[in-house]
């Protein structure tokens, strides 16, 4: 066990955990943030994605000690149901969810992608999102939601 301080969603937290613990379990169980989800634990699906220093990271294979002092953003840090982030709003407006278990991976990766690529083509979106799995087959709506999110983000900027 080791004391580790984490900066999550703009707040600092001290946790006492095995430093090899993947970030996912610390976020979920110690900080009770349910946005990041366990899908595979193997970096194969994206359900556990979080943003670390501006990049999308698979928290299921990221030991917690490696992200100390870095800025971590989870799905909760983007927005709330009362005040959703542009990407979340776009997904709501496209009703781009079935069971929703993959949505953390979709929203987090779309957000980071749009930060870097404000004017994506549909093909860009498909290529970038390809590694993020959705078993419910919500892909067509997710693609449309990301196109819509790009417009929302531009309108805000």
């Amino acid at each position: 066990m080791a004391k580790i301080s984490l900066n999550v969603n703009g707040k600092s937290h001290a946790v006492d955990v095995d430093p090899t613990t993947p970030l996912l379990y610390v976020l979920r169980n110690d900080l009770e943030l349910n946005g990041p989800r366990f899908g595979c634990g193997l970096a194969q699906c994206g359900a556990c994605s979080v943003i670390v220093d501006g990049r999308a990271v698979r928290s299921c294979v990221t030991p917690v000690r490696t992200v100390e002092k870095k800025a971590i953003t989870t799905l909760e840090g983007l927005g709330t149901t009362a005040k959703p982030h542009a990407v979340q709003q776009a997904f709501i407006d496209e009703q781009a969810v079935q069971c929703g278990y993959c949505m953390n991976g979709m929203v987090i990766n779309a957000k980071v992608f749009l930060d870097w690529t404000p004017n994506p083509t549909e093909q860009d979106i498909k290529e970038v999102m390809d590694p993020i799995l959705c078993r419910c087959g919500t892909h067509p709506r997710i693609t449309r939601a990301i196109i819509r999110a790009a417009q929302y983000m531009k309108a805000k900027a």
Partner: protein
């Protein structure tokens, strides 16, 4: 549980505040537990309370909420909020929203003022499992009738209060007023809020077959205001922000974490376990062993995961080995005597007609074992205390889970409370609720609540599989190019898991299952065509599982039908091509049902189908293009798919470019929700047709993660074009799964159209397509 409690969306937040401010004065016995729930929420953040349990069962049969009591179905609060309790559950398809729409319509209250409690065994009526797209088809009318009975009682109360006969009353947004005397009015909340109806209604039969309040007349479909509207799903905002709580987010005080240890192979006898192998891992509470069951309980999830991985377990060599190949299973299917035959249709004399015909066709089609592959592996929390237990699960049959757990613990059913908490989409997978049993075994061993989530490998290897299937088909045509005989036989396996059979943990601790299991159905063999001599049979070949095996079987989205329709609609295409007639024209020759004909025409028109025989003329260049159609009818839902594909000639790689789908499921409750479901079915169909096969050999499972068992991804997603045929005069017949059944044949037919080669086995992998092309070239040469 009631998911809407979790919402903090504006409307819903204020609703929740209201709830708390009024002291949650919900009435109706099923909903009484709301009272302690609010109080206990502090202890168990966000998730339903640990009910003391039994006080919610006040009726004749202490194990079930009484469906003949109106208060079992709904209640009205002082502020006019209506709560509907249903034994149906949302498995990611939006049923919660659809049920809210039905209740809002029938009660004349705004949709926002209805909330739905789903699947908690101590406070909802058992309406049967959520499966087979039957939630709206069967559960819908039950809830509609209960709501109509509620409305009638409210009108009677209003009549007494306002001194006007019921016939002179109207209801608008939960306010009853006298026609022509607008000042005479009273709200639902004022009439009953905080009190029970104390009224009996009729309910006969059980579960899905229950008939509720037939004495009450529900509204005519023409008067629906909320049903039929593209209402936004109530669960979505919270699912996009992390506020929604799935099964895997349940945390109860003192909860420990468990993981199970299972091999990749058949489990035989008792393994040897070397506990010293995990002595270095901190936080281990116990290694739990019972029969062949092995699990670990730890203080943290990571410790449990590490321990389950590191624990040295030596499994005895399986006595009953897994089959060598898929072909070996096919051989078993061909040669083994059926335990039960289901007849889809049997008309005329098929054998005689084929014997005397001059033009005959014959073919055999193959479908592999396939998995559900939930994105989030299954998960449950169990708290076993003495002779009582509480379970939190996303099971599609919470009452089945309750009954299994009670039987495991040898306690009365009412001692077990199962709380439904939505899980990752399950597509039939959670009709077999494995993790609840795992968690019960572990919790009983440590005397504390235990959460178990399967790892990815557990889910891939041990999740039950959709059965392997094989179809034999024969047909004969006359000189006019019309079918005179059709003989279609499906050889499939029953569901060894899921219909109330003991699950994995129970088997491992020594409970034997002697049941055959539910047959995988017979529909989808072309019974909707009009043919003089016509036979469609479904044979159930026994699948005895003396020891737990990774090829245990269960219901997978539209059970048995994607394989059967793959066979029957491929065969229909073979015959059409064989007589040189356009695939759609040939089908229309044999269709009489007007709804089906209209759906076929709608799809053809939308896709711009040009009439010509298949295959398409050979093309130059590296890519061959083709189009294919498939038509089916599943429990009154009609689906027609037209797929357009490209085949890379050098590699055999198939890509689906576009799918056009015509869909008629009677009355459409929520068109936007339905369109989302259809997207999902199309993607699922493409994935299962091109990519998916659960692989194994005698050494064990060969599909154990997303790398060894890929599924569809964004780059493989086709364009989708959907035509919805709304028939408000016909009761809704389900949209969450029928459309998957037509996708495989439409793709295989399109591949044939493109390259002139018929692939009779799924998945259509590049190797399979390429070798079929090479074989054809060789026979030509």
């Amino acid at each position: 549980m009631d998911k809407r409690n979790q919402k903090s969306e504006k409307k819903q937040l204020s609703r929740r505040e209201l709830l708390q401010n009024t002291g949650a004065l919900l009435v109706g016995f099923n909903l009484l537990s709301e009272l302690p729930l609010t109080a206990q929420q502090q202890e168990i953040p966000g998730i339903g309370a640990v009910p003391d349990g039994m006080s919610s069962y006040p009726y004749a049969n202490p194990d079930y909420l009484d469906p003949t009591v109106l208060d079992s179905w709904l209640s009205v609060q002082a502020d006019g909020m209506v709560t509907i309790g249903t034994g149906k559950v949302d498995i990611g398809t939006g049923i919660e929203t659809a049920i809210g729409q039905i209740a809002a319509d029938e009660l004349d209250v705004p949709f926002e003022r209805v909330r739905v409690i789903m699947g908690d065994t101590h406070r909802t009526v058992d309406q049967g499992r959520t499966a087979g797209s039957q939630s709206l088809a069967r559960g819908g009318p039950q809830l509609r009738q209960a709501a109509a009975a509620g409305r009638l009682e409210l009108l009677k109360l209003a009549s007494a209060r306002l001194g006007a006969p019921v016939e002179r009353l109207v209801v608008t947004d939960g306010v009853v007023s006298v026609i022509g005397e607008a000042s005479k009015k009273v709200t639902y909340g004022e009439l009953i809020g905080g009190k029970q109806f104390n009224v009996k209604i009729t309910a006969t039969g059980i579960q899905g077959a229950m008939v509720v309040a037939p004495e009450v007349k529900a509204k005519n479909y023409k008067d629906y205001k909320v049903v039929g509207k593209p209402i936004r799903r109530v669960d979505l905002p919270a699912k996009l922000t992390g506020e929604f709580k799935y099964t895997s987010d349940v945390r109860v005080p003192g909860m420990l974490h468990g993981r199970v240890v299972r091999p990749r192979n058949v489990i035989t006898g008792t393994p040897t376990v070397d506990e010293s192998s995990i002595s270095k891992i901190a936080g281990i509470v116990k290694v739990v062993r019972e029969g062949s069951f092995v699990g670990v309980v730890a203080k943290t999830e990571w410790a449990a995961i590490q321990a389950a991985k590191a624990l040295k377990v030596t499994w005895p060599e399986p006595v009953h080995k897994m089959p060598a190949t898929q072909e070996a299973v096919a051989d078993y299917l061909r040669k083994t005597k059926s335990a039960r035959d289901a007849t889809g249709i049997n008309k005329g004399d098929v054998d005689a007609a084929i014997a005397s015909a001059s033009k005959k066709f014959e073919a055999e089609y193959h479908w592999p074992f396939q998995m559900h592959g939930m994105m989030g592996p299954c998960c449950a929390v169990a708290d076993v205390r003495g002779d009582k237990a509480t379970v939190w699960t996303g099971a599609q049959g919470p009452f089945t889970t309750r009954d299994r757990v009670a039987s495991m613990l040898k306690v009365p059913k009412r001692n077990v409370v199962v709380n439904f908490v939505e899980s990752s989409g399950s597509y039939g997978r959670l009709t077999a609720d494995d993790t609840s049993e795992d968690a019960v075994v572990l919790s009983r061993a440590v005397g504390k609540p235990v959460r178990v989530q399967w790892m990815r490998e557990d889910e891939h290897v041990w999740g039950p599989k959709g059965p392997q299937q094989l179809q034999t088909a024969r047909a004969a045509v006359n000189a006019e190019g019309k079918l005179i005989a059709w003989d279609f036989q499906d050889h499939g396996l029953p569901w060894t898991e899921s219909q109330g059979t003991p699950q994995l943990a129970e088997r491992q601790i020594g409970v034997k299952s002697t049941l055959l299991g539910n047959p995988n159905g017979a529909n989808g063999g072309g019974e909707h065509y009009e043919i003089e001599n016509h036979r469609v049979m479904g044979r159930t070949i026994p699948w005895p599982q003396d020891d737990p095996s990774p090829i245990r079987t269960s219901a997978l989205r539209s059970p048995g039908e994607p394989p059967r329709v793959f066979g029957s609609e491929s065969f229909m295409d073979e015959v059409a091509a064989g007589v040189g007639v356009d695939a759609i024209e040939f089908r229309l020759r044999h269709l009489k049902n007007k709804r089906i004909i209209e759906a076929v025409q709608a799809a053809a028109q939308k896709a711009g189908w040009v009439s010509r025989p298949s295959p398409a003329p050979a093309s130059d260049g590296p890519i061959a293009k083709g189009r294919g159609v498939a038509v089916a009818m599943r429990i009154n839902t009609i689906i027609v798919a037209i797929s357009e594909v490209e085949v890379e000639k050098a590699t055999g790689h198939v890509s689906v470019k576009k799918v056009t789908l015509a869909h008629d499921c009677g009355l459409i409750v929520n068109p936007d929700g339905l369109r989302g479901q259809l997207d999902g079915n199309i993607m699922h169909g493409v994935s299962r047709t091109l990519l998916e096969e659960f692989r194994f050999d005698p050494s064990g499972a060969k599909s154990f993660d997303w790398a060894s068992h890929p599924v569809i991804r964004f780059m493989q997603v086709p364009e989708v074009d959907v035509v919805l045929l709304n028939r408000p005069e016909i009761p809704p017949s389900g949209g969450a799964e029928p459309s998957v059944v037509v996708i495989p044949a439409s793709i295989a037919n399109a591949v044939h159209d493109a390259i002139g080669v018929r692939i009779r086995q799924v998945p259509l992998t590049p190797q399979r397509v390429l070798s079929a092309m090479q074989a054809k070239a060789a026979t030509r040469a």
